[in-house]
Symmetry: C4
Subunit: 224 residues, 4 copies
């Protein structure tokens, strides 16, 4: 995979010549994929199951904030995974330090089921409860966005990108203004819960869908 | 893997010529496998453990709806994974949009432990409780079936299938009438809980086993 | 991987000639590895955390059956994974039916955290409670052993083994008498809890360690 | 992967000549990655969600030991994964016995969410409760460190290392004094909770960051 552009024997030769510390990112990707997959699947455990004797249809209707929070967090983690996936198509290998940065990125991602549950459980309790819950959620998302940028800067400054990366769509997109402002948008979105918590979720959902949608600028720039 | 039909050096050449956005589906498959594996394994967490002091044998007998729901959901997720696996044998790569569609498919799959638990917990509570629980279950399954079809249409309309896909068993099977009607069958199966909830589970189990069993039409059409 | 004994271009040729349904077992192995890894890691969730205000040292001491059950189930799932791993070194690919058999094998494996928790929670409650709990545990293990044999018979009868499999250690070992008797031993071991539940765990632990240890007969039969 | 230094056809030849029992470590790595990823992601489930009606901001502030324990355990498991990853770059394959050793290593790692939860839940309860909790935590970490050394000795004594391993950074680093003393440091760090539990967490966090940071001695020894 790191040398998918050359026939295998040349690939083997090249890997001999690399400095000892740059190794295949295959296991990093497997590990990260595992954390993403588990975090996204654990979200369901935080939705309250109606107790025996409770009215099921009414309980399910009243749980709509949990379902909406589930969808928001699911799409958000899905988005981050997609971005991680896309960036690794232009990364040629990993160093020890880069593993460290990735673990710091995975920490807030694996944490996301917690703020999701806090927001869902306190949704109906008035602003005194829902605003701090939402700030925890937005703050976690801001941390993810910041760590993503750190990972990106680290990879480009340490020469971990493949040669043609500069012109790739993954790189161009990460440079867009909205990516730079993401941490701020997440915090402002969380603050919007002062008006109505639904506003915050709309901002978060909107960002997730925006990240997921294919870049428009990129559309007319496939390689000739 | 995406070019397993050609010697590796040709494979490397071909991948250079593909438009930038079509990348190996290896990580998508790893991620999806993770979500499937976790969702299928989380099912067990939703089975109630008899409390200290409770009569264990009686409790285990009374929990039969939980065990039956476990088996049904396990076989169902197993089936969907098998289908996902089979379809990716004829998919040559993934685009950004295709990742998005797959995340939308994984959302109801990762959600399945929840309706499974709701059904199991309210099984003995009369139709007012068990019918909405079963509709949640059947509705989730219908959503999975719909997203599977969307994924399939997306892959074929965007040229993500390998050339010989049209004649492959995976493709032929997806075209069968029962696959097209699956969402409807799941909802009708859930509605059958108005008569008896066991009817719904029989329909769901029956479908899972049907999907899992090898296609009969396919049996006499292995490549000459 | 399915054709690791030939240079890649021959491998590619051969895979063209195989009937459509025999595909690489790579994704089956990834999926199974995921289920094994999750089931083995979920075990920890079932150990009760001492409540706030409880005496921690005494609670930890009193929880010894939970810790012992954790170790037993961990080693057992680890063993089964090892065996699964070893068998797949002689399997050349998978069919649709073989996926089905594997899903049936994974079902009792993913279920194991449940009987583990039931046994640990009712350990001190006298034979009326602990014997049925242990029978549930032993019965689940017996089911795993039976499904393992079914998987094995399926693979050998459908021609899914590589040519040199018959002389391989993995195959020889599965033929040993103790493997054939495993389901019976698990049930008898569970029944031994009528005397003392610790006896059952000793039998289960003993089997796990026996499976894990390298075969003695195999020791002097490495290929010349 | 085990023969990434030779062109694929030579690789295929070599693998024929290896004794039957040395097989690719690919599945072992996938399985271990899964256990690491799940253990690290399960940590979040142990953080208490503020109950409905509770003051959210105050509850979140009071939960700081849970968050600190989360960060400590996350970085620790991340570290161990990084180390595992690094060591497998110099391991050429696995035997049945080596699988066994790895399962024994994974057991305390998968167990870590439990002591993490015990420590967090009893943090404010005085030394009678927090010291045994911390000893459980430190003892588990010591066990991980010991098993890591066992794994390492096993691999080197059974000839599972690639030829150039002796000069590799992974190997040099494992030989440092601090690695040899790690089990002792973890137990002493836990004992420091007699003075103040925060001291223990500082020791554990400090070790995790130390392991994660690139080796200084290694910095001027990249291959010429």
């Amino acid at each position: 995979m790191p040398c998918h552009l050359s026939p295998p024997y040349r690939c083997a030769m090249e890997s001999r010549e690399q400095p000892e510390d740059v190794v295949s990112s295959a296991r990093l990707e497997t590990f990260a994929d595992g954390v993403f997959a588990i975090a996204i699947t654990l979200l369901v455990l935080e939705i309250r199951i109606p107790d025996p004797g409770e009215n099921v249809s009414r309980a399910l209707v009243d749980l709509w904030p949990s379902f909406l929070a589930y969808v928001t967090s699911f799409l958000t983690i899905g988005t981050i995974w997609t971005d991680h996936h896309r960036l690794f198509t232009v990364i040629r290998g990993t160093t020890h330090g880069f593993l460290f940065v990735n673990i710091l990125l995975l920490m807030p991602i694996a944490f996301l089921p917690y703020p999701t549950a806090v927001v869902a459980r306190h949704w109906f309790e008035g602003k005194d409860q829902v605003v701090p819950a939402m700030l925890l959620y937005g703050g976690t998302m801001a941390l993810v966005a910041i760590m993503f940028r750190v990972m990106w800067l680290y990879a480009s400054s340490r020469g971990l990108l493949v040669a043609e990366a500069a012109s790739s769509r993954a790189v161009r997109r990460r440079g867009e203004l909205i990516y730079r402002l993401a941490p701020l948008i997440y915090v402002l979105g969380a603050a919007a819960s002062v008006i109505d918590p639904i506003l915050s979720l709309i901002v978060f959902l909107g960002l997730a869908v925006y990240w997921l949608s294919p870049s428009r600028r990129g559309a007319n720039s496939s390689r000739p």
